[in-house]
Symmetry: D2
Subunit: 403 residues, 4 copies
Amino acid sequence: MDFSIPPELQELLRRARNLVETEVYPLEPEFFEKGFNAIEGTLKKVRDKVKAEGMWLPQIARQHGGLGLSLLEHGLFSAEIGRSPLGHYAFNCQAPDSGNMELLIQYANEEQQRKYLEPLLNGDIRSCFGMTEPEYPGSNPVWMGTTAMKDGDAYILNGKKWWTTGGEGAAFCVVMAVTDPEAPPHFRASQILVPTDTPGFIYEAVTPFMGHRGEGWASHSEVRLENCRVPQSNRLGPEGAGFLMAQERLGPGRIHHCMRWVGVCERAFDLMCRRAVERAIAPDRPLASKQFVQGWIAESRAEIDAARLMVLQAAWTMDRYGAKAARDQISLIKFTAANTMMRVVDRALQAHGGLGVTDYTPLATFYRMERAARIYDGTDEVHKLSVARRILRRYAGASGEDA
Amino acid sequence: MDFSIPPELQELLRRARNLVETEVYPLEPEFFEKGFNAIEGTLKKVRDKVKAEGMWLPQIARQHGGLGLSLLEHGLFSAEIGRSPLGHYAFNCQAPDSGNMELLIQYANEEQQRKYLEPLLNGDIRSCFGMTEPEYPGSNPVWMGTTAMKDGDAYILNGKKWWTTGGEGAAFCVVMAVTDPEAPPHFRASQILVPTDTPGFIYEAVTPFMGHRGEGWASHSEVRLENCRVPQSNRLGPEGAGFLMAQERLGPGRIHHCMRWVGVCERAFDLMCRRAVERAIAPDRPLASKQFVQGWIAESRAEIDAARLMVLQAAWTMDRYGAKAARDQISLIKFTAANTMMRVVDRALQAHGGLGVTDYTPLATFYRMERAARIYDGTDEVHKLSVARRILRRYAGASGEDA
Amino acid sequence: MDFSIPPELQELLRRARNLVETEVYPLEPEFFEKGFNAIEGTLKKVRDKVKAEGMWLPQIARQHGGLGLSLLEHGLFSAEIGRSPLGHYAFNCQAPDSGNMELLIQYANEEQQRKYLEPLLNGDIRSCFGMTEPEYPGSNPVWMGTTAMKDGDAYILNGKKWWTTGGEGAAFCVVMAVTDPEAPPHFRASQILVPTDTPGFIYEAVTPFMGHRGEGWASHSEVRLENCRVPQSNRLGPEGAGFLMAQERLGPGRIHHCMRWVGVCERAFDLMCRRAVERAIAPDRPLASKQFVQGWIAESRAEIDAARLMVLQAAWTMDRYGAKAARDQISLIKFTAANTMMRVVDRALQAHGGLGVTDYTPLATFYRMERAARIYDGTDEVHKLSVARRILRRYAGASGEDA
Amino acid sequence: MDFSIPPELQELLRRARNLVETEVYPLEPEFFEKGFNAIEGTLKKVRDKVKAEGMWLPQIARQHGGLGLSLLEHGLFSAEIGRSPLGHYAFNCQAPDSGNMELLIQYANEEQQRKYLEPLLNGDIRSCFGMTEPEYPGSNPVWMGTTAMKDGDAYILNGKKWWTTGGEGAAFCVVMAVTDPEAPPHFRASQILVPTDTPGFIYEAVTPFMGHRGEGWASHSEVRLENCRVPQSNRLGPEGAGFLMAQERLGPGRIHHCMRWVGVCERAFDLMCRRAVERAIAPDRPLASKQFVQGWIAESRAEIDAARLMVLQAAWTMDRYGAKAARDQISLIKFTAANTMMRVVDRALQAHGGLGVTDYTPLATFYRMERAARIYDGTDEVHKLSVARRILRRYAGASGEDA
């Protein structure tokens, strides 16, 4: 075992952190106050700078124009740029586009690559992913109402989606739909590329989320598919493989989220420590002198270090042995990192007193926007149960029983 | 000891609950989506209905036009109407006006009563309270920068206030200001009634709070006082008594908040249970069948019952023995009820999955807006330390030592 | 609602507390060091003093020679005498005898009363209760292996019991056994009085419990019943009523435990506060000056007050409306009070540093012996599930669904 | 970064685990029931087997007859053998002897090595360490009452020690004593080797610890030094260096404890999972089917993985950069690993129901004996404060302030 980070990687991390601090942090106040559209233009210039500095698409292989970082390396990178809610966007490794890029790299045919993948990699368009449905629980991903019925050489899609993140302004949507309702549950759905200007692809609403509808990339659409017709050549990957492809997409997707959350933790920790030494609670007495605050700092440091190591180990396992070998670890980090983040943010907010609940720091944004981390891509409870059941099956097997 | 509630009071509680459910709940969606101003008109009609049904000003003595409930009775009442974030407003017992009413009833001279108290009781005007300052920690309430210097028969006020809740649209502000910087710390400040249209009373900003500036009653102003001149006859109560009056105001003020939070808990609990029985996680299998959810329900029920009983006992002690006798109990309920509320809301939100973070239920509003409960009127930490030190002083006294 | 305690009751509580502090506390060190037998003689003299002072059998009706306290009053009494692990024994209201007394008062015929109840009330004999079985989970009380087969006018008992508290030295055991295996599950078992010197009633072992076998009242026997023959006239109550009678016994039994645990909490809290003011962490600097310790004190005070109020309210409900009306409350206090106790004891122990894990204070005894409180008479989990399911049934009913 | 374990080391770990499971586990029941002396003879034979298998003294350099494992390697080794409370003893790497070995290797002169170190390495004698004092808080290690006054070529020692682990039967004690009360606080004390048969080295008591006095290695002596005279040549290391040497000893000492606790966690986890699949809660329904138990398993797995990675990273830092560089990490793992262990043990115990509090599994022993882990070698609180203050000093420096 070796916990060291090679000097070249350290240098890359330092540069990424520096770019985020100098170029992205300054955009936050306007983002918090006015929303995504107000800063999209400036953010585009930051993206140009990222390209110029050779840090564009850190997670993507070199042959596709990225840095070709391993998952472990990207984990470290993500913890730096995740310090700002706009960090990943600046480097074009933000959800849901990064997941869609991976899908397209693996499954898109040449035409699909040219039409959808290339502009996505360039940052010319955005995309979205249509899986979750309002009437069906996310904890049961094979239970789904949207259908894609064949009609000639086309699919006709009908159904409802929500939590279609970044739907507003996206060029296309990867839609999960049942193409064969008679197949075994895990083989019923396929993934279909639907340009958002296709007739019958209808934005019904933007979900009001923790007090805001948001806008553009920073919003979540509710989409109705009503006799929405696309050619069958828009199917991504094999028919019936939708669920398996979604699982493949979600495994790394979850780890990407966890990596970013470590960055949120570090930012909150940093703000808490700064506040502690800068805020006077009496003349010549800093907040830092209080045991309560010292306790929060020690506990937060320990919990962040734990989450960081677990996330990196999971990434290392995926790099070396693949997604299946890392299944337990991914479930464990999903709920561990999300809950660590929420506890650390909560302490940092509390350490700021009244200032903590204002939008003068990013803490209130983290507090309310990141609460969803314990829900999306599998709730805490879904991941706890799934990892426990796999562990228990191994024990039951050992003792000859079926749990 | 007797835990029973007299039948007449039960009937009053039932009526209050019914009015909130039928008249106030329906206003919530628009309030969450568009803000306070959008519903202020309709809310005025609800207030008329409250008056017509004889439930106006539940906390105020009969000679001032209220119901004359004891604090214990108002605690039970508050838990009913606190189920909606608009409930207290509908009955004219909302912060900060209710605290200002109490101050004015106790300290206002005849002219002040006529000018400020009467329209406040009628619901014709709103008011605000200017105590907290951005540069000084709330944990040290005698350390304050705002001054009121005498000039002829006037005071000239200078300083900065924030967290002036409901400042926007308020007719007057009760301002805490140092009138004698040479006096012992607890006798430096006085309370002064400042009409908000007085020159030099300047609204600098509305504090962006958890993603929103809010508006009207549901907002928090930042106020600058710049050579703001008011006649000395606008002083409320004796000179130098500002801190003691604020303490008197805050004691019951805290208990009022706690009572309302029990209502928030009950609403969240109710939503969680309804969701559990209504949401299917598989065909014919409700969410309620899951042990995790059952655990949340049992733990929440226990914690709400505990908070409710502690709050009612504190109210009973204040009713019977006065504020000083209840000091420990008030500190204990302040942090207990606030944390219970946050835990219960968090569980209810989690039980709703993706729906929980939307604004389609009141849970996301509770989650982000009520987080401040652990901060205002004394943080969790301030109350823990203050009750512990009082307890330890009694032990140290007993053993002849000084802690 | 009224939280006051009448002066006469206050005086009784003061006297009970005083007797425990002056007569029972001094026996603790020898009890911790040498065990129950070493102090049984002295404890007998304390019992005589309790009788002489008119506080014998506080929980028993006057016509049976007790004080006739209501359950609420006994709750307050128990919190005083529960401050010592020997307190309840001194007043003859200790488990399992107190539960057996209640059973016998309600179900014993005249002969059974004379033979078993009277010497028990006098404190001349001890008794035990044989319900739990090693091979069957306590969470499923109708699943049981012990049988009592009729043979002429006798029962022949066969089976295994454990956690037969106070079995060593007991004069008789109330044994739960299946008398009709064909009956519906809740009507299979009966309760049978078995003198411990009956052939076939075999003490197999004393269960080593947290490092000690213990002895006498303070021990838990493992009993084998091997063709153990007793007359059918030894059956207590109707045939097939064993399970229902056990439930009746357990309802108040649980509340009795909870009341005692409040006493344990108060003792631990008291020790923590004393330690804080007496222990110097530097010359002239008491441990009490530390925020961490102050935090523990405040949190413990809040949690104890909460547990106390919930327990007293449950007792009040049982007194006024009976056991069925109090079912939810009893489940809620069972896990709330047990967990509160463990947290408070843990903090008090930690505040004592190295001294906390020694047997020089009662804290280490509380820490290890009371851990069982979260298990016996229904685990935390069993009570959470049972109360949640009752609550959810009411919601499901309301919405026309079956959870 | 690389999380892989080389195959040779994996093989060594497998062999160590196997030896513990086949040779040491079988001694536990007698150890729990009868104490250390009853098994000391058998344990000696296990030690011979360990020697024969070439696994003796894993933590000691090869030139002293050990395996020469790095701290990281020993961390992995310890997690295997720490699964039994007797594991480390079997390999001669148990506290307090392992710490004393390190001291002697670094500071003992030739005669001291021959007389004290060699028989200790051989396992022919045991030793103890006399630092903690009953009248002085462990949180303030430079505040100490024991003195060693020079008298000719001798020291005369006076004072009291407790928590002298393994004092009973030890051949010598390393005593911390003030040799120069006028020196600056950190340079007052020296370490002196005192054979336990020296007149004036008096065993006053064995501290009753969680219900047991214990015996031999598994006990904690209270020692009085009364005009105890030893030659000055028994001083270990330089005069006045006692505190610094103790710090050096404690750094790795803490990490050794943490490594062992990971083993305790794994054992408890293993027992919990086995119980879950083997225990039926209804015919054909294993305990493992319950979400509550599944939740405990998932949370425990996550927390153990976190603690393990943090401990290994701290060991790696010490191996590569030395103790000073690892100071923060050591404080963080001290409280993290201790609390993780207690939570995991608590859940495993609860999952066993009534069986969990018996001595039929090692869980009750872990529960009560390991509670001290949150206290010795620095309480949770001491480590939280010390790491937080170091972190905050870095921030204060950065912003030009002194916290």
